[in-house]
């Protein structure tokens, strides 16, 4: 589990609208080069913010990414 990999990806999803749109359209392709382990990748593909938080994703990011935020 990489706290950096998960959170840098969350940060990019929040701050980079182009990357976010790519993720929304085709998450598997958007994440192809991401340095994630199997559990992290599965959580992102499922857009499961609760699991991402459990895997080390910072709460304020999982609660504030446009279109993906858990409330």
């Amino acid at each position: 589990m990489s706290r950096y990999a998960v959170n840098s990806l969350l940060y990019r999803l929040k701050k980079d609208p182009g990357f976010r749109a790519k993720f929304m359209a085709d998450a598997a392709t958007a994440l192809a080069d991401a340095d994630l382990d199997d559990a992290e990748r599965a959580a992102f593909l499922a857009r499961d913010m609760r699991k991402i938080n459990e895997l080390g994703g910072y709460l304020h990011l999982v609660m504030s990414i446009p279109g993906l935020a858990a409330h």
């Binding site: 950096y4 959170n7 840098s8 969350l10 940060y11 929040k14 701050k15 609208p17 913010m49 609760r50 938080n53 459990e54 910072y58 709460l59 304020h60 990011l61 999982v62 609660m63 504030s64 990414i65 446009p66 279109g67 935020a69 858990a70 409330h71």
Partner: protein
């Protein structure tokens, strides 16, 4: 000789719509009551005609990304921008209607930084980091349509472990007080965030607070018993959802041994909202 002429601490998501969505009518009513007290604090601060306002707050993973996370950082330069976020959600949305640019007090910021290096505080600095709701929601609520004096934004890393200790934050506040005393300026200082919310930064625990812990903090602030606050551990703060109390510790260090008056304390399922003001001699 300079002087701290105002000191207050307060919750920092000051958005009735946000709390309506999160907690219903009680949420709206609670934050509106808290905002009224913060606005009254702002009137008292404005009456001091202070030269600068130091704002001690945290970054919600907005300004610093993950290429560097400073423990303590001073914003220098002449102006600071409001954080921009496309399609803002949740607590980011409160920024939407706020002014985009704010003047900074360059002299005071530089003095805190430079004398810090001389006195054992190797502080991070930033010329570019924008400020989010943690800074601007209280500042704008305090001032309404009145002019905002030049700001000195200071970030404390409240969320990305390992955070600075409560004791270190307190000592940093003492450093700020010395710098102000040696200056020619009258200065206000506010610390923002809290009180208890988001224990362990765990999504399933959003909606829980630790009111007992909050009451202990409030008691120590009211009585000016600051020694127990110095012993607060990162683990305690994390479990109780008191991460942002580190910002308050900087302020407490700056005004110790002053006692606090609680202007507002309101419990919500999601967060305990507070507004506190210190009695300065």
């Amino acid at each position: 000789m300079g002087k701290i002429v105002f000191a207050g601490a307060m919750s920092h998501v000051l958005d009735p719509d946000y709390y309506q969505r999160a907690c219903g009518a009680l949420g709206r009513r609670t934050v509106e009551e808290c905002m009224r007290e913060i606005a009254a604090m702002g009137e008292r601060f404005s009456a001091t005609k202070a030269d600068a306002l130091i704002v001690v707050a945290d970054d919600h993973l907005n300004a610093f990304s993950f290429n560097a996370v400073p423990a303590l950082c001073v914003r220098i330069g002449r102006h600071v921008q409001r954080m921009s976020q496309d399609h803002a959600e949740a607590f980011d949305k409160v920024l939407d209607h706020m002014p985009e640019r704010y003047a900074l007090h360059e002299g005071l910021a530089n003095a805190i930084l430079e004398r810090g290096v001389e006195r054992g505080f190797d502080l991070a600095l930033s010329w570019e980091a924008p400020v989010d709701h943690a800074f601007l929601s209280p500042v704008n609520t305090m001032h309404g349509t009145r002019p905002i004096p030049p700001l000195v934004p200071i970030w404390v890393n409240c969320f990305v472990a390992p955070q600075p200790t409560a004791r270190r934050c307190f000592a940093f506040g003492q450093h700020i007080a010395r710098v102000v005393a040696e200056s020619a300026w009258t200065v206000g200082i506010i610390a923002t965030g809290g009180l208890s919310h988001f224990p362990e930064l765990s999504l399933p625990r959003v909606g829980e607070t630790d009111t007992v812990f909050d009451r202990r903090l409030v008691h120590w602030m009211e009585t000016g018993e600051h020694e127990p606050l110095l012993g607060l551990t990162g683990d305690e703060l994390h479990k109780a959802g008191e991460h942002e109390f580190l910002n308050w510790m900087v302020l407490i260090g700056a005004v110790t041994p002053a006692r606090a008056d609680v202007r507002y304390f309101g419990e919500l399922p999601r967060i305990n909202m507070a507004a506190v003001e210190w009695r300065l001699g």
